[in-house]
């Protein structure tokens, strides 16, 4: 993992989805290019960082861009004061401070045979950075189970289509809550082989549920890798 660095960045694009409750930011970092691995996350601060003072209030966001891109993309849902402030304050040309990279989701040792990715809503974003990376082509028969509230919440269809082009064996299963209900855990279990890794990212309750289910059904805890923060 690269050393953590603090960099300022300019908002290059803001994509507003779902009547203003979900936002995707495209950020252009200043100075030398930043290095990170697929699946890592960053701290974003709205206040100007004064190097003589402690790091200002910030929140963590997964980077959904591929590590070799010049920009960093991230998605957030407005859920509290900080993200509400982000939605109000950030527009094209705004400056933010970033501290990155953090996390080791895909750098932990894991099998690339029939890897199973389980995501809920915007929890798919850390996976997107891997799906857009040339390394994704080395995964054999990867499968994504993506839980969404409705078809209107399927924000990443283009990214997933490109991932299929990168790895034609990639199988995407969408589960719309308002149509077919939640992701079928039995189907998830069957999707993996004996050595397969299961990556889970999404709401804490979802992560807990699938982790617990998979362990109870005999999947070794080492093969279950999650993108969750305390």
């Amino acid at each position: 993992m690269a050393m953590v660095k603090k960099v300022s960045a300019t908002v290059a694009e803001v994509i507003i989805r779902e009547s203003g409750s979900v936002y995707t930011l495209v950020l252009k970092p200043h100075g030398r290019s930043v290095r990170y691995a697929a699946g890592q996350f960053l701290h974003l601060a709205l206040a100007d960082y004064d190097p003589s003072q402690p790091w200002p209030e910030s929140r963590c966001f997964s980077m959904q861009s591929a590590p070799d891109e010049e920009v960093i993309r991230l998605t957030y849902a407005v859920k509290g004061g900080f993200t509400g402030h982000m939605a109000q304050k950030l527009s094209v040309g705004s400056d933010v401070w970033l501290k990155l990279p953090y996390g080791d989701l895909f750098t932990r040792e894991h099998s690339r045979e029939s890897t199973v990715f389980i995501a809920g809503g915007t929890g798919v974003t850390p996976f997107l950075s891997l799906f857009a990376h040339p390394r994704f082509a080395t995964y054999r028969s990867p499968k994504l189970f993506l839980g969404l509230r409705s078809a209107a919440h399927d924000f990443y269809a283009d990214e997933l289509e490109r991932a299929v082009q990168l790895n034609p064996d990639f199988l995407v299963t969408r589960c719309f809550q308002n149509q077919t209900g939640f992701i079928d855990s039995e189907q998830v279990l069957r999707a993996g082989l004996a050595q397969s890794a299961y990556f889970i990212s999404g709401p804490p309750e979802m992560i807990f549920y699938f982790k617990d289910f998979l362990v109870k059904r005999g999947v070794e805890p080492d093969r279950i890798l999650t993108d969750d923060w305390e």
């Binding site: 993992m1 690269a2 953590v4 030398r32 003589s52 501290k99 996390g103």
Partner: protein, 535 residues
């Protein structure tokens, strides 16, 4: 009652003492034993000022601002009795007052440095011609004072700035600061022993190739980690490893190459990198004497898996004590950081906690799950960090590095002119083909036909206050600390012994003046001519 930070109306004396006028002023001290306090003049217009002027924006005030846009003149400072205060007009925030006081300290620091460092004339035969030394101005001292006023002490804002400037200069991804070039070598080498590298890790008993004609800090980390140094002879006049002998020195036990760019002269990087790739060897570049040298247009310190820099005062830039480790490999960077910071697994910066979001949920070693990650140690490490005051000096020095390198090259060329008439007696240094060294020094080997010995010449030069140095340890294998230590000599060290007996160097540091070099030329000519007559 607290006075400092208040803006008061007070009669200001005219500078010719012909009268006074009541004006607003910022109080920047508490009254002394006589009731006098220091005030700074405020105007509403661009009044004549020879010092720094700060705008009093609305954010500067702790309450109601002055009714007019105002300017604070830092050079218009007076000591006046508090009894002269007519009334209080406003007050500034503590943050702004701190900024004002800091600016006053910075101005005084510049004045101090200008006085202290005013050029002293070089007097031939009475002034010393150093081989190396600090070259700095008020910028470095102001940065050091500023860091002292911050009193952050450990790695902070200046460390970030310094590391970033090095990364930009070298065009390398990761730069880690440490407390010396020797520590940099120790950390770079120790990182390669980490179990996290699996089968690639260096293990006790493995062999690492280096040279004996150099500084001990390139060899000691090999021994300190229980590995075996393999000493290969060097070529003259590049004073770098002999590539043919290096090829022959590689055995199945060889796992790494750890080499310095001798006195700024890059070793044959094409050949060494190719051999390392062929034999899957780690390469550490000891770049301590070559910060700014290039090889085929690329900076040294960017070819190996890891490289090191020294900021000891003799080097290209200085922080007093100090060093850095550079790499493009993120895993090696994290390992170096861990070895530098007590072996700690957590990578939170000083004063930060749980930036990874997994401080209390992971499991390491045989510790209980969730044991505080901040106190998990994954390496047998040290504490070798740099202070922010050192980094502040380094950040200022980086601005001067390109000019320093050019001056070193110019001084080297001048030495070539000086020694040209005597080249029948001396082996003059040559840059490695394809390289452009930012020379640490001008290295000379006295030929056997010379009418003087190395020791006679260096004794004369030093007696006449021209400093010289030998090529550090000469032949490392003959040093008392190394005689009985593990090590293998690859074939022979004939040139190394020759260097030990016949070689010395003169400084090329940017503090040398043309008068100093002219004096060196005169002393050299005088001594050689006398020696030739005697011979």
């Amino acid at each position: 009652m607290k006075f400092s930070g208040k803006i008061v109306k007070i009669p200001f004396p005219f500078t010719d003492l012909s009268g006074n006028k009541s004006r607003p002023a910022l109080v920047v001290s508490e009254p002394d034993a006589y009731g006098d306090l220091k005030v700074l003049f405020i105007t509403t217009s661009n009044a004549r000022s020879f010092g720094q002027v700060l705008e009093l924006s609305n954010e500067c005030y702790s309450g109601e601002p002055l009714p007019f846009a105002s300017k604070l003149h830092l050079d218009k400072a007076y000591l006046l009795s508090k009894d002269l205060i007519v009334k209080t007009l406003a007050a500034v925030t503590d943050k702004f007052l701190e900024q004002v006081l800091r600016s006053l300290v910075m101005t005084a620091t510049t004045d101090h440095q200008t006085t202290k460092n005013s050029a002293r004339d070089f007097v031939p035969g009475r002034s010393r011609v150093q081989y190396a030394g600090r070259v700095f101005d008020a910028h470095e001292v102001k940065n050091a004072v500023s860091a002292s006023l911050d009193f952050w002490l450990t790695e902070g804002r200046f460390s970030e700035e310094f590391a970033e400037k090095i990364a930009d200069f070298l065009d390398i991804d990761e730069v880690l600061l440490t407390n010396s070039g020797s520590s940099a070598n120790l950390l770079a080498f120790s990182a390669l022993t980490s179990e996290k590298l699996g089968e690639r890790r260096l293990k006790p008993g493995d062999e690492v190739i280096s040279v004996a004609a150099g500084f001990p800090a390139t060899i000691t980390p090999i021994l300190q980690n229980g590995l075996v140094p393999v000493y290969v002879d060097v070529s003259i006049p590049t004073y770098n490893i002999d590539i043919d002998m290096l090829k022959k020195a590689i055995t199945p036990k060889t796992r790494g190459v750890f080499l310095a760019h001798t006195l700024g002269n890059p070793f044959d990087l094409d050949a060494v990198v190719e051999l390392c790739e062929q034999h899957d060897l780690w390469l550490i570049e000891d770049n301590c004497d070559a910060f700014g040298s290039t090889y085929k247009g690329k900076k040294t310190g960017t070819f190996g898996h890891l490289s090191t820099i020294s900021f000891y005062p003799a080097h290209h830039i200085t922080t007093g004590e100090g060093g850095a480790i550079c790499t493009n490999d993120p895993q090696l960077a994290q390992l170096v950081r861990a070895f530098r910071d007590w072996g700690r697994d957590c990578y939170c910066a000083g004063g930060e906690n749980n930036t990874c979001g997994k401080r209390f949920t992971q499991q390491f070693g045989t510790l209980p799950k969730g044991y505080d990650h901040k106190y998990v140690y994954s390496e047998i490490g040290y504490n070798l960090k740099m202070t922010d005051i050192q980094a502040a000096i380094g950040a200022a020095q980086m601005e001067k590095l390109p000019a320093f390198c050019e001056q070193r090259k110019a001084n080297f060329r001048r030495y070539l002119e000086i020694f040209e008439p005597w080249k029948e007696f001396f082996v003059l240094p040559e840059a490695t083909p394809g390289s452009d060294p930012a020379w640490f020094s001008f290295i000379i080997t006295v030929k056997e036909n010379a009418p003087l010995t190395r020791d006679q010449l260096t004794a004369e030069l030093n007696a006449r206050l021209i400093e010289t140095r030998n090529l550090f340890a000469g032949n490392m294998t003959r040093q008392p600390a190394f005689v009985s230590r593990p090590g293998r000599i690859a074939d022979h060290l004939q040139n190394t012994d020759k260097i030990m007996n016949n070689t010395f160097f003169l400084g090329t540091y940017p503090g040398l003046t043309s008068a100093m070099l002219d004096y060196t030329e005169e002393v050299l000519r005088d001594f050689i001519q006398r020696a030739a007559v005697v011979a």
